[in-house]
Structure formats: C-alpha cells, structure tokens
Amino acid sequence: MNAIETQGLSKHFGKRAAVDGLTMSTPAGSIAGFIGPNGAGKTTTLRLLLGLVRADAGSAAILGSPLTEPDGYLARVGALVEAPAFYPSLSGRTNLGVLARLGGYSRSRVGEMLEMVGLSDRARDRVGTYSLGMKQRLGVAMALLPDPDLLFLDEPANGLDPLGVIWIRDLLRHLRDQGKTILLSSHLLGELEQVADWLVILHEGKALFCGPARDLLAQRVEIAVEAEDAVRRELVVQIAEGAGYAVTRDERALRIACPASFAETLNRKASEAGVTDLAIRVKEGSLEELFLALVKGDRP
C-alpha cells in the first residue's frame, strides 16, 4: 500500500510551472528520499500534499484520502516544511503548546516530545534564544506532536552538529521501524543514501526517478575507458551508445553510465572489431553522481 500517490499533479505560479504533471508514489512504512536541485518543486510538492497550496491539475491520495479533503488525513500527518517557523518571544514549550491545543493533543505529549528531541532543559527559554540546531529539533518535535503515520520532513538535519545528524538518522530509522512513512527532503545525499529505502528524484517539477533506492543505487556504476587514439575512442562510443548508454567524453577517456556487466560486453565487442588494448575500469559512483547524471540527462 502506498502512503502517498500522485497522478499528474501540477502547480503553476504565474507562467512558471513549479510542479509539472508529477506522478510519484511512496510505499507505507518506508523512508522516501525526496531529492532535487533548488527550484525543482520539492517544497511546492510538500505544500500541495499538506493542503497549503491548491493544485491546478492532477490528483493525489494521502493515507488513502484524496488531496481535496485534507481533513481526512492531516490529523495523521506531521510536517516540518522549510525552516522551522516559531513565535520567537514564546518558549519552546509554549510554541508546542499552541499547536497541541489546536490539534487537541494532551499537554503531556508536549513534554514527551521535548524530552524526545533533547530540549527539556531549554523548554522554558524563548525560542528567539535558540540556536539553529535547537530550532530544528523543536521543528522535529512539532512534526511528531500528533504521533503521525506520515511525516514530511524538509531538511531536518539543517543546522545540526554531527551528533545531531546521527541522532536524526537514528530517529528516522526508529520511526520507520514503528511503521511510519517518512518523506524526507534533503540535499545531504550521503545521509539519504544511508537511510532511504525509496527515492523520488525531482527535476523541473517532474519525477526523474521514483522507485526503490536499491534499484537506483544498483545503477551507480560507471565504466571508465582509456584509449590512446580518437578512432578507438569513437568505436567505444558507438558500442556504448548502440547499447543505449550515455557517454561522457574526457580528454583521453570515456565515462559510460551503465551496469558493471556491460564492461565484459564492451571488451568483447571491441575485440571483435579488432581493438584489444582498451583500459577498462569499473567505477562505483555515489548517489550524488547518480543524481547529477540524472539531472544533467547523462543517464537514460
């Protein structure tokens, strides 16, 4: 079952399409990494799913309820969208109290959440005196206040120190183990690689990839081929492109975005064409390299 499903979701601001026919899904009980360059439409998508902005076209279902009926699902949703926004002259406890009263949650839940994010000692201090990392922790507490089935987290590790980053990573895993679904928007691709079991890659308002993280990460191999003369390199390009793989040309080498198994095929086809002295290396790329390749269109 999917916690989030969108079909052709679109949102325009004036003539600019912030979200452009977005079709994506997120399985229940997963941590879904939500990746995209600045302006890709991540925050607008989150706002659409939270009922804060209205879609121009398309449809979506969140926790089984349609997007057009946010009261059907928002009680089971927690969210931290963009930088955490609080009343700076109120204490952390009162800020959470405002939302607890509005959502009808008990006062004890506020204390529990403050304890959970490690802010009990500073709960009575004004939020205006908090560091960025503390505000971020309070934002996570705010999102967890309704004990949600679905969490939208936008850059939750922003401003956290290394211990804080580890804390948030462990917290996310713990929440997933409890069966909660987390849509995690982040630029920290290394972090996402460690926790996400589902990935949605967004570019110019469209999903470039939406699927299990392992499927994408299995593709994170590229082959580097070194050849002295241009004729040999051109032969390699023809073989790779003929097989449907994108080739990036460096000065004396070629980089082919393809599975590792293609190295053998390439070597065989090159030998058949009379080229036997190619230097072929299989290189494992990072999620960051994969992401860049997808966004730049280097990878089919």
């Binding site: 706002r47 939270l50 804060l52 009261d71 969208v81 700076p88 405002v98 939302l99 705010m142």
Partner: protein, 269 residues
Amino acid sequence: MTSVIRAFLSEVLKFRRWSVLAGAGAMVAVSTFIAYLTFHQIASGATGKEMAGLIAAFHTPQGLVAIMGQARSLIIAIALVLVSANLAAEWTQGTLRNLLVREPHRLRWLAGKMLAVVLFVLLSMLLTLIVGGAFVLILAQGQGIQTAAWTSAEGLRIFLEFLGNEVLCLIGVSALGMLIAVLTRSVVAAVGIALAYILVIEGIIAVVAPQVSQWFPGRVFNTIVGATVPLVGPAPAQGYPAALLASVLWIAGFAAASALVLPRQDIKA
C-alpha cells in the same frame, strides 16, 4: 465548533508575547495619560472654545466619559494595529503553515483566532477605561472635585452606553484589521495600509466628499461612539440607527470578504 474552541484556546496562549502585551500596555498608558492631560486642563481652569463643552460637562454625569473618551481615536488606531499585525504575523513568521496543517479548516481556525483577538482587544479597552477612570476619579477626589454625578445611576448608564458602542466600534475595527491582514499577508504592509486608511485616506475622502465619507467604515465606527456622548467626538450625521446598521453591515462585509479570500489563498509563507 470544537475546532473553533481549540483555535481560540491555542490563540490565548500566544497573548504572552511581549508585542501583544505591549499593544495593550500602550492602550492603557497612553489613554490614561490623555485622560490625565484633559482632566488637568479642566481642573487647572483652562479656557477656550474647544474646551467649553468639556468644561460644561465636567460636573455632570457625562463628565468622566467625556474625559475618558478623548483617547477614543487612539484606542481605535491601537486596536487596528494590534489586530492586523497579530494576524498578518502568521504569514510573515511562517507560522501559518504549522497552524493550517493542524487545522485544515481555515475558516474555523480564523474564527477561533479572531474570537480570541477581539476578546483581547475588548479586554484591553475595558482595562483602559477602568485604569484611566479610576486614575481620574482618584485625581479628582485628591483635588476636592465633586464626582458624585459621575458615579450616579445616570453616570453609570452613560458609561455603559458608551462602553456598548465602544465594543461595537472595536469589533468593526477588528474586522477591518482582519480583512487587511488576510489581503496583505505581511505585518509591515498590513499595519501601513491600516493606519494610512484610517488616518489619511478616509480623512481625505471626508474633505472631498463628506456626504459619501460618512458611510465609510472608519467614520461609521468612530461616530457611533460619539452618539452616546457628543463631547467625545462627532455624532453620526446619518443618525444613530442608520450608523448602527451600517456598522453591522460593514462588519458582515469584512467577515464575508475574509471568508471568501482565505480558503482560496496559497500559503507560500
């Protein structure tokens, strides 16, 4: 209804903010100071055309209300700033997105919030009248001035009538502040436009087209208070019942316009 009560209770917690308390404090302090100045002028035997009415009413049951009512325009301006800034700040600070995730029925949230904010404004006004009134009474007794007429049954009736009209006036001003905030979605713009409208634009229209301006909201809300005690400001030229009806229609109009705009807005703050 439960959602409205939750929104109300949630808003009450936010009154601890110094900016909100400062608004109420300013209302009490400045109004009391103006009342003191007015009292001092009368008690020290000031003369002049502008003061003649006040001096004549000083020892009558209207005396206390006439003195307290001198700060009425200021109370209106502070109330307008307080309401528009309070609501617009939810957009400016970005807190609106947190609130609307917890209460997706935007109108229920707005109703609960506005109930609390209007109640706060009215309590601030009541506190202003109590503190200012008590201060003037103490001053008067200290100087041996006869105040029996002020606290007589007739004096109390006039005070309550004044209070009733002031309540209606401030509800109207709050509704105007709400609409301005919903339309501008920014504290600076909301406060600037609210003050410019009430202090400048309506004033200019009053000079250019006085017959038309008497029906404008700022003028209507202002003059219904003057209907009780003409000494505290201009009485409604169109008559009290017509001004009362216009006030109610303006309030309904502002509420309807806000209710139409807010649910259709994209929350990008």
